[in-house]
Amino acid sequence: MAKVKVKSLTKRYGAVTALDGVTLDAESGELISLLGPSGCGKSTTLRCVAGFLSPDSGDISVNDQSIVSTPSNRRDFGVVFQNYALFPHMTVAQNVGYGLLFRKIPKSEHGPRIENALRMVRLTGLADRLPKALSGGQQQRVALARALVIEPRLLLLDEPLANLDARLRDEVRWLIREVQQQSGTTAFYVTHDQAEAMAISDKVAVMKSGKVAQFATPRDIYQRPSERYVADFTGEANFLAARVLDASAGRFRIEVAGQTLDVPGVASLKAGDTAELLLRPESLSLDMDGASPRSLFTGVVSKAAFLGASQHCEISLGTGGVLKLAAPPNTSIAAGEQVGISVALEHAWLMPEVKP
């Protein structure tokens, strides 16, 4: 059981700042995702935690003990690499048992432990194969078993699904979550796939050029993002420019597209601030009979595409701006139609405007 804290981690390469004060913490048994586009610092953070890189400043602690100067081979962390990094000259069993060689574990226990780990990742009967005789998904399971067999204090996964095809990705993703929860291992998980991060994480850290933009639960990241960047990265989003008229305890009276609305939002906003209103497509619905009394906005359908389970629509508002939304599959929508849009205001979210 390990509680992990990362505090103000900084790493520079010459003039480039790769990490700029990254702070995270994981309660025992939690899975924390580091989410962001390539170059945002998520892998660098993971490699610092693993001990492959040493940060210029900042601290990493496990159960309140700093490990920042502990070499990687004494950190007791299991690492799963993007390309698996299985030792090509060793069999599956030898790969999985490798970490046991360096621990005071009687030889007689190695066999059962290896077997157990392989059973955990549902990979039995292949113990004597060489890695190259396995499929990508199987290799990934071996890598996972190898990292878990040493009963690590922390499990680090670096884009573990990046090299798998879409179907396998789903399967292995659930396996990783299941095994992580079963063993109660704290885990850091690096990914650039927001769906993956939201699906399996207890908390997600969305990273942006070396900093943590937001660190919260998947639900908060999606529904209550700290800024436009986070909202954009976590899913389809509409933004409307707004102005705060009045603020009280996380609720705001705002002016947006010629209307005055009452919405929840980021607590730090004050009256007079310019802000952005986030409207997720699923909190919008079409009023087909033109504008109804419920409709908050009116506009013209500028694009409509049938996707099977839904229809993707873009509506140009009379007051300027475009709203994307998903309409039910069986209503008939055509470009050029005049429509009204209803908004579930409880699911709207007001964020400060961040200049890029």
Partner: protein, 268 residues
């Protein structure tokens, strides 16, 4: 294509094929000539041989001076290949820890003995060994061979290490292995083909060196190429062909070994 140009195309292909064949004959003729001549049953070193026999191989092994030279060459080559492999491995590990720009400089420095003509290296070493009192000694000759063969071992090992995914080392370290464990259990086995290839290259290079041996040879000692040169200047007999055939077979063994462990295409 019209029939005329098709005909011309075929003619071009055939003449190109003939040219290539001729070039390969040119390339292999001297080696073939030696091997044929060494198996002659007659008295003269001639191709085609007069009858087949192994008598000149027997004659070679009855010449104490030539056998001594062969043994000395083998011994020097063996020491060279062991020393260059170890020093080369160490240097290759060092190059991995260097920044990219420094690594380029290091790489060029390490291959310097390959870039400086053997003649110049030999002359410099002759003076230097004389000044430190090692001229005309066995150890002086050995140093010269190690120096010239070193790049062959180094380059092979560096290439082998470069093939290894850096994540291998990280994976091993994260599982609790010390640097020494990782070297022994991961790097060494994975780089083994490259190391063996480098050792073979270094061995054969040393075995074949002439100029540096001429300048640095110890008093009373001769390597096989030196003995062979002298033999050829004074007695032009098939014994020399037998000696040369032995050295060709040794090289062929080396080529076969390299093919078996890494494949020729990757080696050259």
């Amino acid at each position: 294509m019209t029939p005329v140009s098709e005909k011309r195309g075929r003619l071009a292909r055939i003449s190109f094929g003939a040219l290539i064949l001729l070039l390969y004959v040119f390339l292999l003729a001297p080696l073939a000539a030696i091997m044929l001549a060494s198996f002659t049953g007659g008295e003269l070193m001639r191709v085609p041989p007069q009858g087949l026999s192994l008598r000149w191989f027997v004659a070679f092994f009855q010449r104490q001076d030539l056998v001594d030279a062969l043994l000395m060459s083998l011994r020097v080559a063996l020491v060279t290949s062991v020393v260059t492999s170890i020093v080369g491995m160490m240097a290759a590990l060092c190059s991995q820890a260097l920044s990219r720009r420094l690594a380029v400089v290091f790489q060029i420095s390490m291959t310097l003995p390959l870039l400086v003509p053997e003649l110049l290296t030999s002359i410099g070493l002759l003076f230097f060994l004389y000044q430190i009192g090692l001229a005309k000694t066995f150890i002086g000759l050995q140093i010269g061979h190690i120096l010239i063969a070193f790049p062959y071992a180094y380059v092979s090992i560096v290439a082998a290490l470069r093939q290894i995914d850096p994540a291998m080392e990280e994976a091993s370290g994260s599982l609790g292995a010390t640097a020494l464990d990782t070297f022994r259990r991961i790097l060494l086995p994975l780089a083994a083909p490259g190391i063996v290839m480098g050792a073979v290259f270094a061995f054969i290079t040393s075995f074949d060196l002439y100029t540096i041996s001429l300048l640095l040879k110890p008093v009373g000692g001769n390597t096989l190429p030196l003995a062979l040169f002298d033999f050829l200047t004074y007695e032009f007999r098939p014994t020399a062909a037998a000696a040369a055939t032995l050295s060709i077979l040794l090289s062929a063994l080396g080529v076969a070994l390299i093919q078996k462990i890494v494949g020729l295409q990757r080696a050259f």
